[in-house]
C-alpha cells in the first residue's frame, strides 16, 4: 500500500509511562475474556494490536477508557488509576480519545456540533473558541467544507475522519482506535490511514486494533498479537512479521498475509 513515507525511528518515544496495565483479568459472566494482561505503554508509542476475532483485543482497549469494566488487576492511565470512582473515570475519558469501528458520530448534530459538543460541555470551552479548534482539526483531516452537514450526508471515510477530529478536539494525550477501517469500503481506507499516520508523526500515543499490516509496518513501534484473551507475542514490526516465534502467530500471519 502506497502511503506517505515515514521513518518510525524518527518519531520519539519518551521514558514517561502513559498506560500501565498489570495483571488484568476480565470475565463476561463465567467466560474469561482477558487473562493476565501486562502491558506498559510509553508516551509517544504507537502500538498495533492484532489477532483473530474474539481474541479480546477490542475488549482490551475498551478497558483502558472504562467502556468495559475489568474485574482484577490494575490499569493506570496518565498516572490516574482506573477504579470504580466516577471522577477518575471521567478524568481518564476526557484525556483519552477513542475512534470506533462504526464511527458513532451523533447523527442529530452537524459535523461542527459533533466536534464542539464535548469541549463545550466537558472542558467548558467558550463556544467560539471550541468552533475555532474544531475547524482547525477538521482542516487537518481535510474536510472543513463539510462542517455544516450532518453525518448521514458523508461517506464512511469522511465520517471516520470526522470521528478522529472529534476526539482530537478534546486535546487527548492518548488515542485508542478500535478497528477504524474495518467498516469502510476499500477505496476509503487509505484516507483514514493517512490521517492516522499524520497523527503518529506528531507524536501521539496510539493504541490501534487493526488488521492493516501495511499500517503496522510503517507506523508501529510494537505489534501485539492476542489470542484467546492473552498476549501471545509482541515485537517490533520488522521482527514480528519476518520472524514470528509462536505457532499461533505464524498461522495468523499466514492467513492474513497469504492472499
Amino acid at each position: 500500500m502506497a502511503m506517505t513515507d515515514t521513518n518510525p525511528s524518527a518519531m520519539t518515544v519518551s521514558d514517561e509511562v502513559a498506560i500501565e496495565i498489570k495483571n488484568m483479568n476480565k470475565w463476561y459472566g463465567s467466560f474469561h475474556v482477558l487473562r493476565d494482561i501486562d502491558l506498559t505503554v510509553q508516551r509517544g508509542e504507537r502500538i498495533v494490536i492484532c489477532g483473530p476475532s474474539g481474541s479480546g483485543k477490542s475488549t482490551l482497549i475498551r478497558c483502558i477508557n472504562a467502556l468495559e469494566e475489568h474485574q482484577q488487576g490494575s490499569i493506570i492511565v496518565d498516572g490516574t488509576p482506573l477504579s470504580s470512582d466516577l471522577k477518575n473515570i471521567d478524568k481518564i475519558r476526557s484525556e483519552v480519545g477513542m475512534c470506533f469501528q462504526h464511527f458513532n458520530l451523533f447523527p442529530h448534530l452537524t459535523i461542527l456540533e459533533n466536534c464542539t459538543l464535548a469541549p463545550i460541555w466537558v472542558r467548558k470551552t467558550p463556544k467560539k473558541e471550541a468552533e475555532e479548534t474544531a475547524m482547525y482539526f477538521l482542516e487537518k483531516v481535510k474536510i472543513p467544507d463539510q462542517a455544516n452537514k450532518y453525518p448521514g450526508q458523508l461517506s464512511g471515510g469522511q465520517q471516520q475522519r470526522v470521528a478522529i477530529a472529534r476526539s482530537l478536539c478534546m486535546k487527548p494525550r492518548i488515542m485508542l482506535f478500535d478497528e477504524p477501517t474495518s467498516a469502510l469500503d476499500p477505496e476509503m481506507i487509505k484516507e483514514v490511514l493517512d490521517t492516522m499516520i499524520q497523527l503518529a508523526e506528531e507524536g501521539m500515543t496510539m493504541l490501534c486494533v487493526t488488521h492493516e499490516m501495511g499500517f503496522a509496518r510503517q507506523v508501529a513501534n510494537r505489534v501485539i498479537f492476542m489470542d484467546a484473551g492473552q498476549i501471545v507475542e509482541q515485537n517490533e514490526p520488522e521482527s514480528f512479521f519476518l520472524n514470528p516465534q509462536n505457532e499461533r502467530t505464524k498461522l495468523f500471519l499466514s492467513q492474513i498475509l497469504g492472499h
Binding site: L67, P107, L117, A118, V122, P151
Partner: protein, 432 residues
Amino acid sequence: MSDTHAQSVAFVRDTEIPPSPPPARETGAIKWVRENLFSGPMNSILTILGLLIAFWLLSGLIPWVVNGTWTGNDIRECREILQGSGGGCFAVVAERWPQLLFGFQYPDYLRWRPSLAFVLLFLAVPPMLFIMFLPRWTLALSAVYPFLAYWLIWGGTILTPIFIALAVLFGYFTFVKIEKRGFVTGLLAGIVAAAAIIWVGGLVAGEFSRFGRLEAVESRAMGGFMLNLILGIVCVSLSIPFGILLALGRQSRLPIVKGFCVVFIEFVRGVPLITLLFVANVVLAYFLPPNANFDLILRVIIMITMFSSAYIAEVIRGGLAALPKGQYEAGDSLGLDYAQSMRLIILPQAMKISIPGIVNVAVGLFKDTTLVSVISMFDLVGMIRGPILSSTDWAGVYWELWAAACILFFTVCYGISQYSQWLERQLRTDHH
C-alpha cells in the same frame, strides 16, 4: 456501438451514455380511471357498489346539514321550523354553545377570562413547538403561560401563581446545584425547596389575598370543552417529563430506582384509567386529613398524569432501546457525564424516534379526558349527557350535539397529528 464490441468478450466503453428521461407513460384521467376503477369485472362491481354507498350516505347527510336550522329556542320550535324536511336541529348547538365550551356553572360575565387564556395559548405554544425558527427568549412566554392561565381561569390573588412559579424555579435551581452529588439527592432537595416556598407562599397569599385579585371561580365550576382542554394540555405537558424520568429510571443501575419505576409503570398500565379516576374522586379523600381541601381537578390531573406518563415512559423506552449502543459509548468516551450524554445525545435521538408513539398517547389521552364525565364532572361529554340532553328544552337532540362534540375533538386531534408529521420531517437529518 461498433460491431467489434458485439463480437469480442473484452469490452472497453468509449462513449458515455447520456442520462435520458424515463419512458413517457400514457397519462390522463381516463387512463387512471380505467386502470384503477374498472380494470376487471370484480373491480368494476366494487367501484359501483362504493359509489352507491357514498351516494346513500351523502343523500342523508347533505339535506341534514343544508336544511338544518340554527335558530329556535327549544326542540318544539325546531320541529316547527323544519316541518319534517329532514334537516338537523342545530339550534341546540347555537343556543348551548357557551355551555358546551365553558360548562353551566362558570359565571357568564367571567367567560372572557378563559377565552383570553385560550387566545394566549396560541402565543405560548409556538415557542415550544417551533423553537428552531424563533429566538430563544420566546420560550419565556411558554414558561410564564401556565401561571398566567391559572390566574385567568381560576382567579384569586395573583400571589398564588407567582409563588408556585417561584417554587418551580427555586426547586429547579436547588436541583441543579445539588445534582452533582447525586441525581436522587438533587431531586429530593429540589422537592423540599419547592415545598418550602409553597408553604411560605400559602401564608403570604392568605395574608394579602386582595393583592392583584380577580374574582375567584371554584374548580367545581369548570366544565365543557374548556375542562377537556385544561386536563388534556396540563396532563400531556406534565406526563412527557415524568415519562422521560420513568423511562430513564427503568434503565437505571440503581436497583431501588429501577424497581420503583418498573412497579409503577406495570401497575399503572395494568389498571383501567376509569378506576384511577374513581380513586381520585372517592378513595383519595380517605387518605387525606379531614379538613384538607384537595382540589378535585388537581386530583384528576395527578391520576391522568400518572396514567399517561407510564404509557409515555414505555414509548420512550422503545426509543432508547432503538439507539445503537455506540451512541452511549461515544458519549462516554468523550467524557460526558450521565446527565450530559442523556440530554445532549441520547434523549434528542430517542425522543425523535418516539414522536409517533408519544403523539398517539397524547391524542388518546386528550380523548380520554371525557371519562371524567363518569365521576360527575361536567366536561363536554358530561354537559351533553347531563344538563343539555336532560333539559326539557332539548331532550332527544342527539345527533347534532354529538356531531358538534366530534368536530371539536377532531379539530384538536387532527391538528396535533399534522404537527407531529411536520415535526418528523423537520427533524430528519439524513439525505436532504
